[in-house]
Symmetry: C2
Subunit: 323 residues, 2 copies
């Protein structure tokens, strides 16, 4: 089978590709080829795998060619991130909305109704002036996105649902939690600090925390996030249970508890490298996302949240040492 | 002030224009000009009014010019209708989604953040395989559109909400109920029969009812619908209560009760002109829309549903005679 991953050279895309190559199969079929589409070339280890084909370039332009190419499974991860979209409205509309529509139309034109996993986001939720967020987010909570990124993700969910209903694709919308700990350099996501406050200190660098210690957030480790994407691709439509997006399992934790876990795993000196510099814009965006989720629907796909933040920090430290 | 009505030559658009010209003002300001944008020229009575300017042509093309023209209030009613969008997916995406986006971008470019009333629809609701409809639709019920038309309307609501949040426009999303009785020829709406089963018999013609007598529907008269659009344009943001779309007030009635009212108003012979020919596609689309609504939020704008269907039939008969 042939798999396409958009954003395939990014953090999640590359990690997903490695996991798929390691497994060798998806949904009971051998993986013959993985196409990694991204603005950038994939990491060297992936580029070296004979099953990997790199497709570098802007997504909208690449979609023209995909109208004549068939894929069996598509993971659509490519996106401009939240703070970028808030700062540059047109960039977000192009990178998130127009690109997704071009991809959906290419898959429709190709004609084989491939399975598509769309990576949506917890950012679809927010407190509208006329609609406060409930204590716990459930399957049927009405999203009222309060950022352009969240709006674009929610719109794309609707497109995926309708292209699926029409039989053009077999799509599944999964809403990812904030993924922590992301390796590498900070990106433009408003939630980027949730990785920085662990990653930078353990690498001997200072980090800035722009929100109060008692702010609660909904997180998932990279490993659980990848497991969720694969489970969504492998599950039957019946197991998925409708076209409404699934919230991926969430670990609810306060920023203070995150730093406590960092101290347990890496020591007080490491923790002391985190400084506090309030940023109202970031606090508004990230603080506006809900922190507590009913995980029932994800549990039906055998997906569970990370047990605690300490295990996330330790997994990051272990991976870091293995490189 | 200058008002733009898209779909301004259509049934609702022309009726709205007449009402505005009759009032002479909107939100406390005198109306100096009404631009009626439509594929077709406006009815003669409107074209003859010196305050009316006709702008005939495709909406997307007209939007280019509007980037340099400012309007104070915009009513965006232009749309391809439900059955059309289901039969021709690309037409719906272009007429409903692309056109709305072009309009929003034109208003943004014009730079005066005009008030915009977007006519959304009860068709945003539907029973997803994983999410049955509740008995009553409330303010916070999650829409799960089951038609391309409903998806496109729901997507446009999201765009209006975000363009409003960003300050590009001052938008309000109102979800219209099925408007009955529509005069003139049947259109491509799946709900068209709800007008035909009254309009055709009283005009001495046969009509076809494609659904069972016990199917319940949510209706509004043309007069109440126009009142709702104007109220949405005149209300403050605070009175509107957030960016979440408002469901317009709904009269819940069964098709059988509609025909009973027709018989009371026009006689048994008129009623006997309605034949029953089940149409599974129409029954699926219209039967999938909810019939019972919590009208609380509309009531806060002093908008009430029609008292009963008999009054709707009688109002139609009166208007018909006055022409």
């Amino acid at each position: 089978m042939k798999v396409l991953i958009t954003g395939g050279a990014g953090f999640l895309g590359a990690r997903l590709a490695r996991e798929l190559l390691h497994r060798g199969h998806l949904g009971g079929e051998n993986i013959g080829e993985i196409v990694l589409a991204d603005l950038y070339p994939p990491p060297a280890d992936l580029a070296a795998d004979t099953r990997v084909r790199a497709a570098a370039g802007a997504l909208i332009a690449q979609c023209v060619g995909w109208r004549q190419e068939t894929f069996d499974v598509v993971f659509h991860l490519a996106a401009a991130v939240s703070a970028e979209c808030e700062a540059n409205f047109d960039l977000g509309m192009r990178s998130n909305l127009d690109s997704t529509r071009a991809l959906l139309d290419a898959l429709r034109a190709a004609g084989n109704a491939p399975r598509l996993v769309f990576a949506s986001s917890v950012a679809v939720y927010g407190a509208d002036p006329g609609l406060p967020l409930p204590q716990e987010i459930c399957h049927d909570t009405l999203p009222a996105p309060q950022s352009s990124y969240g709006i674009q993700k929610f719109i794309c969910e609707q497109l995926v649902a309708d292209y699926t209903r029409k039989g053009f694709i077999d799509g599944r919308n999964v809403r990812l939690m904030t993924v922590v700990v992301r390796p590498g350099a900070p990106n433009g996501a408003a939630s980027g600090f949730l990785s920085s406050i662990v990653r930078e200190p353990v690498n001997g660098k200072p980090a800035i925390c722009p929100v109060p210690l008692d702010m609660k957030v909904a997180l998932a480790s990279p490993a659980r996030t990848i497991a969720g994407l694969i489970a969504a691709a492998e599950a039957s439509r019946e197991a998925i249970g409708g076209r409404i997006a699934i919230n991926m399992p969430a670990l609810t934790v306060s920023v203070g508890e995150m730093l406590d876990a960092l101290e347990v795993a890496a020591g007080a000196e490491v923790r002391s490298r985190v400084r506090f510099e309030p940023d109202a814009q970031i606090a508004r965006i990230v603080g506006g996302w809900p922190a507590v989720f009913d995980n029932t629907r994800a549990l039906r796909l055998a997906l569970e949240p990370d047990p605690d933040f300490l295990s996330i920090v330790r997994a990051y430290l272990t991976e870091r040492e293995s490189k």
